[in-house]
Symmetry: C2
Subunit: 340 residues, 2 copies
Amino acid sequence: MKRTTIAEIAARAGVSTGAVSYALNGRPGVSEPTRKRILQVADELGWRPSVAARSLSGARASSVGLVIARSADTLGVEPFFMRFIAGLERELSEQRVALLLQVVEDHAAAIDAMRLAWAERRIDGVVVTDLWNEDSRIPVLQELRIPAVLVGRPRPGVRAGAVWNDDAGAVSDAVDYLVALGHRNIARVAGLPTLEHTQARVAAFRKAMARHGLADPAVAETDYTAEQGAQATRLLLSRRDRPTAILYDNDVMAVAALNVAQEMGITVPAELSILAGDDSQLCLLVRPALTALSWDIQAYGRDTARVLLEMVGGQPPRSLELGTPALTVRASTGPPLRTG
Amino acid sequence: MKRTTIAEIAARAGVSTGAVSYALNGRPGVSEPTRKRILQVADELGWRPSVAARSLSGARASSVGLVIARSADTLGVEPFFMRFIAGLERELSEQRVALLLQVVEDHAAAIDAMRLAWAERRIDGVVVTDLWNEDSRIPVLQELRIPAVLVGRPRPGVRAGAVWNDDAGAVSDAVDYLVALGHRNIARVAGLPTLEHTQARVAAFRKAMARHGLADPAVAETDYTAEQGAQATRLLLSRRDRPTAILYDNDVMAVAALNVAQEMGITVPAELSILAGDDSQLCLLVRPALTALSWDIQAYGRDTARVLLEMVGGQPPRSLELGTPALTVRASTGPPLRTG
DNA sequence: CTGAAAGCGCTTACAG
DNA sequence: CTGAAAGCGCTTACAG
């Protein structure tokens, strides 16, 4: 089964292959009637461009890379990634760009993977997630001059796109709400401190608490896993001045906290309000269902893809801040029990 | 920054580009000393093959496709896919093969995506998951003659690799265990009936029950979501002869069942034993922790990649049955309460 | 064992 | 507006 090539189209349309190329790519150089004829012949023949040939002659690879540096098991429970990928995908496939996915253990491996894919001309750009404060991937991106979009805040001096949401604002909203319910002693169980967004959220938390005259709240650091979330919760709930509300940095830890409360005989939400920093089906799977900060992760993926494709197309990098995640109130939060 | 090509290597090593190609690909046609010299020069220059050039000259695209036909939201909660992908990835990247991922809505879109990727010469083969009994993707695979591996049982008359596990045996083991605990009234909440493995498991369930003289057990069909799992559980637990144990086809539904039991005032495991058909962190996140059928999903992905790469390399398709998932007993199963 | 050359299917200056 | 041609970086028969 021979594949149909532009040579064949050219022959049938009675033009040169160059003309076919121009017509197919919507560039000037062919008259409108000729273009129409060529397009029709291409369509009849069911022609598809060979990405290899295109790529070899200097054009795009028509693929972008996503290198995720996480262990497979933690990836599995975090609903975030699959939804983000689905969002990316939807936009990419519309523009006929493929997604090249890699799952690696750490940043060193991620860097190797990016270098290789770029050297092999497999990708036109990359999406970078889980940004660290000091992130070793960034200088490599710059050195390679590979179009990249950061899933996070833009960085001064770094030429890259950036897409992020106002999670700091959401944390602030959450604190306001809990304070309005009557809580004064609110703690936070944060994620990995090396991650940039963890720090941004912790800072927002502290600031919001201070705004209400509630200085120096307890903040625990974890690695985002259920185990560390549970452990941090046990410690917080064992304090003399135990909090009446805890904000968690993701959904998995908030679910784990529910079990700790149960095991310690603390009722939710009467004695403890729990608020999850991510929203997903997980929050609906448990009882009481979890109040959470929710946002459209698929749209996030889609916008990330758009910014990246713009850069691949030669436009300058864009920094795009998405909206503030919404507080979705369910059954795990309420006014604190009056103990006086 | 010019990329280094084999022409440059050839010049430095004082041989022809053909010789370089042979040396680099480990084929006969160059003497050992020459080969060594060439490899060294290539290494010094940090040469990487251009996949586009390779692919264009008739070799492999060095990518395989995975088209997942599911909604983004259900994908998110199912920990299966990310772990499976991580397993695939690990094996593929070792062999320098990229994974091209697509997430689509249904089989029609999956077929379009496969056809396109194949026509564009982007992929050398595909992995097919979530097989239906009558699966419209199969004939297309055959028509295209694209190397494919089915994540499921082999099909007579279909030239494709197949990798599956003995889930039927695992269901049988689970029934044996519950019967040994003293259960007589065991029900099953199954997944999508159109899926092949759902039917295989239901058949295994019925057969195991019959073997114990427990004919005609209740079996509910669902779409694998928490909602339908909860609904099916409510109906089963509302029957006069309500079951003392229920087997769920995945982990998400088993978690949902836990909430239904709670809402109906039925204690687990004293009044109801719950057994999850998939094992994941989810099963550990809830209380009581769920007894589950567990298996190594990453290894599953890895073996799938191996079978596919063999086929891409020209070897005949292999059918590979992996082991029987193990019954991991946790707190959600126990002997039924004596009610007499 | 080695060299010279054609070819894979496109894109893109360069002449007309 | 159009045609002829070179070139992208490899692989692979085909001669020597």
